[in-house]
Amino acid sequence: MKNRQSECIGSRLFGIETEYGILVEGRGAADLMEESRLLVQAYPGPWAGPWDYQAENPRRDMRGYTVDHLNYDREDARYDREGPGSHLSSQEQRADHALVNGARLYNDHGHPEYATPECRTLRQIVAHDRAGERIVHECARLRMEATGREVRIFKNNSDLHGMSYGCHEGYLVARTVPFESLLYGMLPFLVTRILYAGAGKTGVETDGPLREECQFQLSQRADFFEEIASVDTLARRPLFNTRDEAHADSRHYRRLHVICGDANLSQFATALKVGTTSLVLSLIESGWEPLFRLRDPVTAIKKLSRDPSFRWVLELEDGRTMRATDLQRIYLRDAQKLLAGADADTDWVLREWERVLNDLEQDYTLTEDRLDWVAKRRLLETFIESEGIWWEDPTLRSLDLEYHNVDPVEGLYYALEEAGQMVQVAGEEEIAAALTEPPANTRAALRGDLIRRFTPDITRVSWGRVALKEDARARWVPLPAEFGADPALTLSGQLQSAKTVAEAIAVLTGDSGDEDVPDQG
């Protein structure tokens, strides 16, 4: 029997990267590269940088090749050539901040982006995702204080005028899993998980034959997918991103970079989204393969998202039709058979996954205390009824946006939470701790400890390694992805006992450090 430890949610590293929307009084889209950078630079706590981009190559494709260039939005390219920050270097524009809680805060194409530290449990990921909302909001508050201009931050994925920005998830996956198994195993699942992971949106933003009347749809992002699989993320977005950046030892791991998800405010939706995805990956790692494929996944996610009947029927490649909830139940059924009892998070996901699917089929409003799209839709329906307006009223778009405002005094999601109407997963103490403390059982604990104690000696930082300066030399120290998976490993304790940079290097490398760090061009 395979060791159950390797099948449970806790055996996998995962994280969430959220690009926030930003609205600054008196400023337009062309100014957002600068505004986002200045917002990140307002971060008041200790941090380290710059980021080590030599360890990354977003043009490398899982299928074994590297593309010449990534597609880019033409209008954004013009902003970058002519905008206020065009004289700055890429490093200056990005303003990378590696934080003491192990997270990364930076300016990504004009959006403040918060990438959680690596997590192993659902409570950790929920607490750190929520900590990110608070950190970005605090930066906005400080910018308002400094400039006198109002700054609003939205955790959503669309400006409702045709521009989208992402909330990506990263899952470490065994390198031994063939690309085709990942692709065909994940696609039907990713398309249909918007049933519970969608954040909801008023209207449709893209033209085409599917642009039927749609007052409200399940997903923020569904409108923006044009390909089944590709390495691109900024234009011609794929459902399945083939970027091959493990952020770990690529001989042993891939990182599945999920770009087709929505940013969730609901803690429950965040936990269920990450939990179900991790379990499906465990199925695929075990050799499981689905016996079905969607006929046209790109069209399917749009139809599913916009279906006004809530019957959610999809076409399969073999000509059959199947409800999306039933397709999800196939994944659920096999996960129950193969993974039940692996750990507490796994059992929570299996139980809540089934309950959500049952509720969605019986009466979707039963899920309004857990799912963002349902909570938002119900809010808007309440307003429509109260004010005697129609779905076409443009005020609803502003309310849609306000659902995602991360200001706890203004945001409509937070109003629901304040009223006790949303299920909570992480407690206030866990969220407050996540502002400054990394998950103790992941390599983020090593990164966070180094940043907390040796910031002046850090010359570069990334997910998988940190460059530490000892005397005149900078040396890499690795942050192993396996750290924390085995409780017997006590590297963190040893690191905490290191009093000097030299001792920290010795603890993390076993000797005097890896090769010298060359200058970053």
């Binding site: 889209a29 209008e75 521009m163 920005y165 499981w288 109260s386 778009r397 109407q421």
Partner: protein, 62 residues
């Protein structure tokens, strides 16, 4: 062993019908959730600038 062998996969029957429960064929029924007093939420929603979305323009992100 945990992995499903290829042969088992091939022999495993493909469901001819979706896994549905009796009476679930027509989609969700009419809402039946008791809702709390919405007056506070409505007050907050009425405070929202109705033109906010018109001004909200972003760069394309990832």
């Amino acid at each position: 062993m945990f992995p499903i062998k290829g042969e088992e996969r091939i022999q495993r029957p493909v469901p001819q019908d979706p896994i549905t429960r009796p009476g679930s064929d027509d989609g969700p029924k009419a809402p039946n959730v008791k809702r709390p007093d919405p007056s506070d939420l409505l007050k907050r929603m009425r405070r929202v600038d109705p033109d906010q979305a018109k001004r909200y323009r972003q760069r394309s992100g990832e």
